[in-house]
Point group: C2
């Protein structure tokens, strides 16, 4: 059975620990956590260490730490020629220390401490230096997720940028919607079904097919009224730029 | 029982016809459709007319036509002192002709011909000139939806702008994500679970609590790398402006 060790205790690490701890196809033999803050409900505390010298021999070491810490942590590992992967969307394979075999195990999802996710539905993007390591990664990934993809470092960079657009930026537009509601004494609740349907719509339609609204139909009267309504300069700038971008897309087709 | 007539045959009209046709608390007695293009599966064809002079007496006339057509259609109705409402998010109550009692019956959702929606979950925003009409509207709205709100014309204008941000603009960001994937030979499928989770997250967290990403954590290294990656000028502009907006929000708190 594939023996796995996870290094880290942040959001991604905890979700991976949760997924691998209950997994019967692999064995989570150890977790390195500097503060040893892994709930005992999640993992037998005797398996949690905070000293690199105590690391056991495993088939796969998953470094789930902040992007900046990946080079340092991978350099501190007291062994060589083993398979070591990181979990970051924005760090290249080459950031890992040369003494071990490198790989990437990137679960593409937004993780919050307070919200459990079903790992089965989370795409995992894999990369490795050779085919044997890729097979091992693929087996481990498929044991916790139904969606596993081979994504190289260049593609992963693109994917991370795309994820910023559809996650971080989308959430910021939710926040602007929330602010407009609040300032006009409208419960934000009213917008929630629309927000859900907007996301659900593109599960079956392409975003291009799903596009509606005044910008799409070149309804300049409504656009002008909206621009007049928006007194906040920042909101107004965002409105103008996204409206133009929708209109230019239309022209390109 | 409240007798209802719907005027129009576009997306909103058809969804309303579907909701009211199977509703036992109200009676859909007639539909005006210029092209008489209402599927017989939806409504008994003898109830579909395309001549205003054939309009029966009803308690409530719902004009579900394009924004621009609302004043004309409401002026053409061959009766007075009855309750006439429109279904638009961006048109004021006053756009309706003065000869009848005015109101608004605005279902806040994105409607596509190809995708059925469950009306029960759709917020309906109501406005009327007097309390008696409001009660009638409220009863009709509650018979098809569990979410009914009193929203005046000023608030509705704000709500419509907010809806553009969380629906039209959000969908456009999905489209940019899709484009970036396509150009880098990445299946857009990979982003779909993230898109759904981003929407679902704010059902329990506020958008402010849910915000993550390089802009939120002032990760200038990642932001610079993303800006370098984006060769499309339009995408790059949107990236910069939304990143700045997230960072400025952080400063305000």
């Amino acid at each position: 059975m594939t023996k796995i060790i996870i290094i880290g205790s942040g959001n991604v690490a905890q979700q991976l620990i949760r997924a691998f701890a209950k997994n019967t196809a692999t064995e989570l033999i150890q977790v390195y956590s500097r503060q040893k803050n892994i709930p005992s409900s999640l993992l037998d505390p005797t398996k949690v260490i905070n000293d690199y010298s105590l690391l056991l021999k495993a088939d796969l070491y998953i470094i789930a730490v902040s992007d900046d810490a990946i080079p340092t942590v991978s350099a501190q590992l007291p062994f060589k020629n083993r398979l070591v992967v990181h979990t970051s969307g924005s760090v290249a394979l080459g950031a890992l220390d040369d003494k071990n075999r490198k790989g990437v195990f990137y679960p593409l999802q937004t993780f919050s401490k307070d919200k459990l996710v079903d790992f089965k539905t989370i795409p995992i993007c894999l990369e490795s230096e050779n085919a044997t390591d890729f097979q091992l990664l693929e087996k481990a990934a498929k044991s916790i997720s139904a969606k596993v993809f081979a994504i190289n470092s260049e593609q992963r960079k693109a994917l991370h940028v795309a994820a910023v657009f559809v996650n971080n930026f989308v959430n910021h537009l939710y926040e602007i919607g929330n602010t407009i509601c609040y300032e006009n004494k409208i419960p934000f609740e009213i917008l929630k079904p629309l927000i859900l349907e907007t996301a659900q719509k593109i599960m079956t339609l392409s975003p291009q097919e799903a596009q509606t609204g005044p910008a799409k139909r070149n309804d300049s009267k409504t656009i002008e009224a909206h621009e007049l309504f928006l007194s906040d300069e920042n909101q107004s700038t965002i409105y103008k730029i996204l409206t133009q971008s929708i209109q230019n897309n239309g022209k390109k087709l």
